[in-house]
Symmetry: C2
Subunit: 547 residues, 2 copies
């Protein structure tokens, strides 16, 4: 393409998209807003000084461009400072998933080649157990919420606050390539080792700009984030940078509350006392907050919450609304930085009957700007936005991980045919709404089509003689896969014929196609479950293929 | 800087920031919104098809990557389609300033090396007069608002709507370097030829993301732009892409009204009948709308307007508010794409007494995200944000012209020391508010400091014997420049001594420094004015240096 390329004056500033540029925004002016974390309350002026202090402390610890700094901490002001200072000196921030097993943590720290580890007292025992096997780590900095409880046994370069106190408040952050890696973290699948995703400065800046648009436009009545907001993340900062929202909140200079360790009563107290207006969390945390004993004394009116990670169920949405909370859904994953779509409550949605509003709030929302979402059939045909045609959700956006760290083959699989494959089965409605139907590993690929096992389970369970059911695909020479159903019957009379006849009506009305009818069922007294009580489709698949 | 650079899987999509990506956003879903222009009302689905049709028509006209397409039109759906289709095929859109003299238009079209010209009937006479001297133009497409009035004499490739009708509705827009030039247009100074500025795809996409943030956050009560907005530009589309807001409106998929030629009664009628909620214009246009005869029948309640180009005066702001209009200020220039800062009305600003609110609305507002604004003394020292220390406003942002087209020396001057020099004298308040004080060409550089001629005029005019006054700088061997004042006296007794004594009090209270006291004045009966009634400082300077 012989386009004409920008010709710059020699002295012109090219403005790479770097995380430091987020600090040239609103936050640098006086607003009276603070960053609150445990007993600390910092003004933005102090926060900016602390970023410089931390950069100097990192330098003193031998950290420079291309090095990797791991953090093991609860959600704190320290973590936020690391979100900025570490990438701003040209290093890579590894946000360690402290919920992994020590063995997995060890694997990720060696795989990411961490040079320095900032570790909270609570995680020192983990480090103690693995430190002899850490191959690249050269030093530790101790993080504490209680200066009394210093882990004096622990051989560190010093305690975070002490190191900052003795460091200079000025640091001249350099310019560099905007495609430099800024952050990395690990995502776990059902099999194999955790995989590292990674994001560049450019990607994080673009994700931040996109996120602020999404947060401001999603509620005509009251934006999730405006300059009056009080923000408290309740998604761990090691998990996809707490969805990238701390970058938004900091750029805008709003009041921010960091809750340290998640303790339901403390979270509820903070919401009440700090007048939090906006948070984001997984469904379980929302439930824990609503059921905490402090909740009885708390008026949640005006608290807006984005739910992600798992689907917001209508029941939980209704419960939240009854308590004065306004719930929204968002959709994303570790590989996507994460934001792909979010609920938007326009006035016409607010005018809907409550049931329809809740149904809208519990879908995955509308794709955000620049986020190109398509629904593909197994053979890569693009499905129409008709709210019916399902397929794998694939995506392009400027902030998607470009591979898996040091695993180019897995990266190539993720990006097959130039689109990032989410592994989710979804439909796209004419108004743009994304509705997730299933995980691809739970769908059955037969006759060139995908059949949702969840949908089949729903239909089979409507037969009066069925108590419960689980559907999986098993290999089939002719069709690739065919659905098999494991059923706990209510009666003794249930047979394959009954199920097939029952499903035939749904073939006739177009709900499913004929390949969706199982050719085999197994009647059982019990359906295999995993140790945490989830239906164990892997074991079912094994049993059925033997049957 | 040995940072680690993003390693992409071979199949990963790199997502260049291209104008076509704006069309992957909200606008592609069904909302019922339209693009309205004269008798035309297009759905967004039709609009997207028309962009493809136009791209095919351009291809048929021989236009490809690197070519330049000039447009001479009023604000129309056609212009909006060119905003997208021309850069999306890899060509450069030259938005011709149709208010320039035919000689200047000729200069700009030859300088930009236009290949194809899309020209409205109303501007055919201009083209007729210059076409023999156009060196690079290979063809014309005729634009008309009335198919009856075809300029049959004019040798064009065809009429726009006819060409689109016969073109295919599909076009596979290619990816290319995001630094490719997308648009160019010319800015006129007081001397010399117009200078060309130019913007890349990347710059326009980033400006769009930034603008949508600014428009959504500037009014907590009701965003200037949300998905319910009805948008009508009243800033010509040839002038800095109508401030880039058509790109925002299109990305968001809002209802858009294009008013064609600006006729005050028609503008007012459109605001009323199309229920326009948001526009932007220069002060003169706002005045014309408010004073149009249609205004008497029009309820302007709910119309929000950004004023730029010239300062919004308190008088005009008050008048607008009395008529139900909500005015905001924005600050920018051709070289800056244009947005640098905008008024933000947070709840605490709305709680101010009306006079203070108006004073806030008439300043230049708060810098937008990523827009790094500094105030520099003549020797490049950064002034504090104290609301008092003035200097030249210099800026860095990701969307500033990187030079002047084919004039690298002028580009180097614009970007002296790596910051874009606006030529405006301003102060920055502690809350971030930008207040423009003067144009640099109207300030006096003396003793290493800048003295505002406007400020000096204000102080001198407070002397009871002064009727009116104009202050300019004239060369001075020792101090660089010294201020001289031309005064129309009210009495016969006024002398230099009186003025000096009068100003001494302001030296003593710190308002001005001692170099600000003129050593010479000239008493006159009349102050020289230009043909349009502005004070002619050039002639005054000449007269004073002779005096």
């Amino acid at each position: 393409m012989a386009t004409k390329i920008l010709q710059s004056a020699d002295s012109a500033y090219h403005y790479p998209l770097l995380i430091k540029q987020l600090l040239t925004s609103q936050q640098r002016f006086e607003t009276g807003n603070e960053i609150v974390s445990g007993p600390h309350r910092f003004s933005y002026a102090e926060f900016n000084q602390r970023i410089c202090r931390l950069a100097n402390a990192l330098k003193a610890a031998g950290i420079g461009p291309g090095d990797t700094v791991a953090v093991m901490d609860w959600d704190s002001h320290r973590y936020l400072e690391c979100f900025f200072a570490v990438p701003m000196v040209g290093a890579i921030l590894h946000t360690v998933n402290i919920r992994l097993s020590p063995g997995q943590i060890l694997y990720t720290m060696n795989h990411a080649e961490d040079d320095l580890v900032l570790v909270h007292d609570d995680f020192v025992p983990i480090i103690d157990g693995i430190k002899d096997e850490l191959k690249t780590v050269k030093g530790y900095i101790q993080l504490t919420d209680d200066a009394q409880v210093t882990s004096s046994e622990f051989d560190s370069l010093g305690e975070y606050e002490a190191l900052l106190a003795q460091s200079d408040t000025h640091y001249d952050f350099p310019d560099f390539d905007e495609n430099s890696i800024a952050t990395t973290f690990y995502t776990t699948g059902t099999t194999g080792n955790p995989k590292g995703v990674f994001f560049s400065h450019r990607q994080l800046v673009l994700h931040t700009l996109n996120m602020v648009n999404a947060l401001q436009s999603n509620n005509n009545e009251r934006a999730l984030m405006n300059h009056e907001s009080v923000y408290m993340p309740i998604t761990p900062m090691f998990h996809v940078h707490a969805w990238g929202i701390p970058y938004v909140a900091t750029m805008m200079g709003v009041q921010q509350i960091y809750p340290l360790r998640y303790e339901p009563n403390n979270l509820t107290r903070l919401i009440r006392e700090e007048k939090v207006t906006f948070s984001h969390c997984v469904p379980t945390i929302l439930q824990m907050v609503m059921q905490s004993s402090e909740a009885a004394d708390t008026n949640f009116d005006g608290w807006q919450v984005i739910i992600g990670g798992s689907a917001l169920t209508p029941g939980l949405a209704r419960q939240a609304i009854e308590q004065g909370i306004e719930p929204f859904s968002a959709y994303g994953m570790s590989e996507t930085c994460p934001l792909m779509s979010m609920t938007r409550m326009d006035p016409d949605r607010r005018a809907l009957p409550e049931d329809e509003q809740i149904s809208w709030r519990t879908k995955a929302g509308l794709p955000t700007d620049l986020c190109d979402i398509q629904i593909w059939t197994p053979d890569g045909k693009v499905q129409p936005n008709d709210g019916k045609s399902s397929g794998e959700l694939v995506v392009r956006a400027p902030w998607l991980t470009q591979s898996y760290l040091n695993e180019p083959e897995k990266g190539a699989e993720l990006w097959e045919n130039g689109w990032l494959h989410t592994g989710d089965i979804a439909v796209l409605h004419p108004d743009g709404c994304v509705e997730i139907k299933d995980r691809i590993k739970d769908v059955i690929k037969t006759g060139g089509e995908w059949i949702s096992s969840l949908e089949l389970e729903r239909l089979i369970s409507q037969h009066p003689d069925v108590d419960s059911v689980s559907v999986v695909g098993v290999p089939d020479e002719r069709w690739g896969e065919r659905p098999f159903a494991m059923i706990i019957p209510r009666t003794d009379v249930l047979e394959l014929d009954n199920i097939q006849a029952h499903l035939q009506q749904y073939v006739e009305d177009g709900t499913i196609n004929k390949w969706a009818i199982p050719r085999k069922i197994q009647l059982v007294n019990d359906i295999p479950k995993t140790s945490v009580g989830k239906i164990d489709k892997k074991r079912i698949r094994a049993q059925l293929s033997e049957a």
